[in-house]
Amino acid sequence: MNPYPLNSVDLAHLQLLSREVRLQLISMSHRAQSAHLGGALSCVDLLVALYGTRLNINPQQPDDPLRDRLVFSKGHAVSALYTVLARHGFFPVEELQHYNEEGSRLPEQPSPHCVPGVEWATGSLGHGLGVGIGMALASHIQEKPYNVYVVMSDGECQEGSVWEGAMLAPRLQLGNLTALVDFNKWQATGRSNEVMAMESLKAKWEAFGWITREVDGHNLTEITEALHAPRPAHVPLAIVAHTVKGKGASFIEDDNNWHYRSPTSDEVEQARLELALP
């Protein structure tokens, strides 16, 4: 794990890792002909910052009772989680080429019965926050010091269960709980703010009693600062991360066709050029 605050070398290392993860995702989507590439690319920097600077985890002991928990609640984008887990040693990077293959340990939607490091099956949206609240509360009941992070999508915030949890967590004084919303402004069929009244997402979390921060979800310095900033001991933190769906390849960015499309081999090569990777 990189120390905080990041020095220029560590920052450059994380930025390179983000680009490499993105190319890996684009390649995996091409090979598996799988959907949800846009939403996977938008949350890469959040995961790189969390795993690179914040989470107290040991890939050799993925079930350590004292580990920090990351509940990846936007399960459709799990290729991003798989790639970051592999890069942090939870399983061999070579295994990523079997993403979404029948019989592999890397299904298109996550399951804790597959590769180590996946905490929960979140193919159905709106479950992760409640589960994360339970994990954070267990830390208090059992007096075991660990933190819980829940990564959610903006479309997911249309589920009523999210706001049931949002209303309870401050009352439980869960200062060890952080919710991160990957606010890429799109959902399956349209602009999230046109499908439902999403704005102001930050004000909504604040109104529910959370410490709330807005960040550029592709700026690793901003994300890590939000993750590490001093916070009240008994108040949960919500980070609303403004992101671009499909971030990393110009022809994917902010084009919602990539909610379901997968790239051709030529498009993988074009992305490689744009990401300046060999």
């Binding site: 409640g130 589960v131 609240i133 339970g134 267990a138 269960s161 309870l168 439980l172």
Partner: protein, 310 residues
């Protein structure tokens, strides 16, 4: 049953620090003793059942043993997907307890009737479904369920039901309790229908028929040994439940029956609520009458199936 539930949970919670009690804003004063004894292990999760179930699964994933409690339709139908995914798929040892099951809250209208809960919960892989007949059997169910692993749904009544057992009778998953011995008819009663089953047996006895009566608290798994025996020995096997006929206890018995290789000797009769809502006000007995769930109606129907000797 509610008071017995609170007492037994308090007792279990004192013996095992993993027990965490979750309520969806119900049970005012009911859990005062539990709260006083275990202040860090009782949480009112608010009128927010879906989140309560996910939260319980999160607690269980960290080694705790949550018990979730509220009114039956709200803790089964409303949050069914959270139960399915977060508890059952993840194989979390969570106990779900619904109060006011069946027609216990008949007077509050169809919103508070729960005549589909066993059908819903029974369909979930790994979920055990229990319907104890009285507060003593409930205590035994709670002890057994909490001692084991896995997810369990327990449907209970309200308060003031007749207590038929002098003490907790003991409970084993997949085993039914014989409460009356007889011959040509077997009355298989689940949940709070046991007093009606006994009253039905008394009515039949007046006609020279001596039914065997079982309290079938274990709806899933079924007691298949007892089923095999009564269907081989009796002329008529009767299921009784304060639940819909689609997917409930009687359906489970019928499924078992058609999957058998041997043809049964006995005919199966199922008694439960019909495929319609009640729209008129009325308390539990009124609602049972409206659905034809009275000892007189059941006894008459059973008698009609028997050979003329009866």
């Amino acid at each position: 049953m509610r008071n017995a539930f609170a007492e037994e949970i308090t007792r279990l919670g004192s013996a095992d620090p993993r027990l965490v009690m979750l309520s969806a804003d119900i049970g005012n004063r009911l859990f005062d003793k539990f709260k006083a004894m275990h202040p860090t292990r009782f949480y009112n999760c608010g009128v927010a059942e879906a989140n309560m179930i996910s939260l319980a699964a999160g607690l269980a994933s960290c080694g705790l043993r949550p018990v979730c409690y509220t009114i039956t339709p709200f803790i089964t139908a409303r949050c069914f997907e959270q139960i399915r995914v977060d508890i059952c798929y993840h194989q979390m040892p969570v106990m779900i307890v619904g109060t006011g099951s069946g027609l216990s809250y008949a007077g509050l209208g169809a919103t508070h009737h729960s005549l589909e809960d066993m059908a819903l919960l029974r369909s979930l892989p790994g979920m055990r479904v229990l319907a104890p007949s009285d507060s003593m059997e409930l205590r035994s169910c709670l002890r057994t369920a909490f001692a084991g692993e896995g997810a369990t749904y327990i449907r209970i009544g309200k308060k003031g039901e007749p207590v038929l057992c002098a003490e907790p009778p003991g409970f084993t998953f997949g085993t039914w309790r014989q409460v009356r011995t007889g011959a040509e008819v077997a009355l298989l009663s689940t949940g709070n229908m046991l007093p009606s089953a006994l009253a039905t047996a008394d009515l039949l006895a007046a006609h020279g028929i001596t039914p065997t009566v079982y309290s079938c608290a274990s709806v899933k798994p079924l007691d298949t040994a007892t089923l095999a025996r009564v269907f081989a020995e009796c002329e008529t096997v009767v299921t009784l439940e304060e639940h819909g006929l689609i997917g409930g206890f009687g359906s489970a018995v019928a499924e078992w029956l058609v999957d058998r290789e041997l043809p049964p000797k006995a005919r199966l009769l199922r008694f439960g609520t019909g495929d319609h809502f009640l729209h008129h006000p009325g308390e539990q007995e009124h609602a049972r009458q409206a659905y034809g769930l009275t000892p007189a109606a059941i006894a008459q129907a059973v008698q009609a199936t028997l050979t003329p000797a009866y």
